[in-house]
Amino acid sequence: MPDQPVPPAPQEAPAPRAEGHSGGGGGHRSEGHSGGGGGDRPRREGGGPGGSGGPGGPRRGGKRQYFRKKKVCRFCVEHVDFIDYKKVEMLQPFVQERGKILPRRMTGTCSRHQRWLGEAIKRARNIALLPFATEL
């Protein structure tokens, strides 16, 4: 499948759900296109070979460039050196509704900050600032 340069393959639709498929170059046609693929394809054909599409426009020769939003560690951007377990509103986005800690691949947090974050969340749980699990 990665060899075929047929039109359906170079669909690099800017999938709204920026999930971390690190698959990259190969024609992972099934991924990230579950819904939006059909809608994007006509636009591409109209654009012609010049690739006037999105940032990862179609290249000649079937080499696809996938455009997906690069996730950056939110803590690195803000130069956070210490994640305070007392600031619940800061931890909240990294916890599911049920109280689970979100994995790195969802949030884009770097490994170091994820480690600190996990610790902070566990501390907050311990003193009843965050739930272990929501009881209903």
């Binding site: 130069h79 050196d81 210490f82 377990y85 007392k86 109280g99 501390r123 749980r125 311990n126 003193i127 009843a128 600032l129 965050l130 739930p131 272990f132 009881e135």
Partner: protein, 136 residues
């Protein structure tokens, strides 16, 4: 032993009268003084919702303290007192000095790097980049 910094949070029953809380804080301060430590800061966060039920309460009165001590015995004593007092339903002590140290170290590193980057020559001593940049 080096001086250590701790975070101490305890939660009182929501129906605890104010003077009861004051009394607990006072006894903690007193025993901190006895053990050669001191309570640097006391914050009353007031009544907050608990993330889960603690001894059948859904709310609690949070008190947050920062304790400095050179003796670990102090923490033992403070926790014993909290355990004994009826009004307190939950408490947590966390040693923070190492993390604060790490935080300062990282901040210092970054500052140094930021100061060094514009000028490539290592002329300026790496310790004080603030005067170096001012001299430019």
């Amino acid at each position: 032993m080096d001086e250590r910094v701790y975070d101490l949070i305890f939660i009182c029953r929501p129906a605890t009268p104010e003077e009861e809380v004051n009394k607990i804080v006072a006894t903690l301060e007193h025993s901190a003084g006895e053990h050669g430590g001191k309570i640097e800061k006391t914050e009353r966060w007031g009544t907050r919702r608990l993330a889960y039920r603690v001894s059948k309460h859904r709310e609690g009165f949070f008190v947050y303290m920062v304790v400095r001590s050179t003796q670990g015995d102090l923490i033992k004593e403070l926790e014993r007192r909290l355990k004994v007092s009826d009004a307190v339903i939950k408490y947590q002590t966390i040693r923070l000095d190492e993390e604060l140290k790490r935080q300062q170290k990282l901040a210092r590193h970054r500052e140094r790097r930021a100061g060094r980057r514009p000028r490539k020559t290592p002329a300026a001593p790496p310790q004080q980049q603030v005067p170096a940049t001012a001299a430019e």
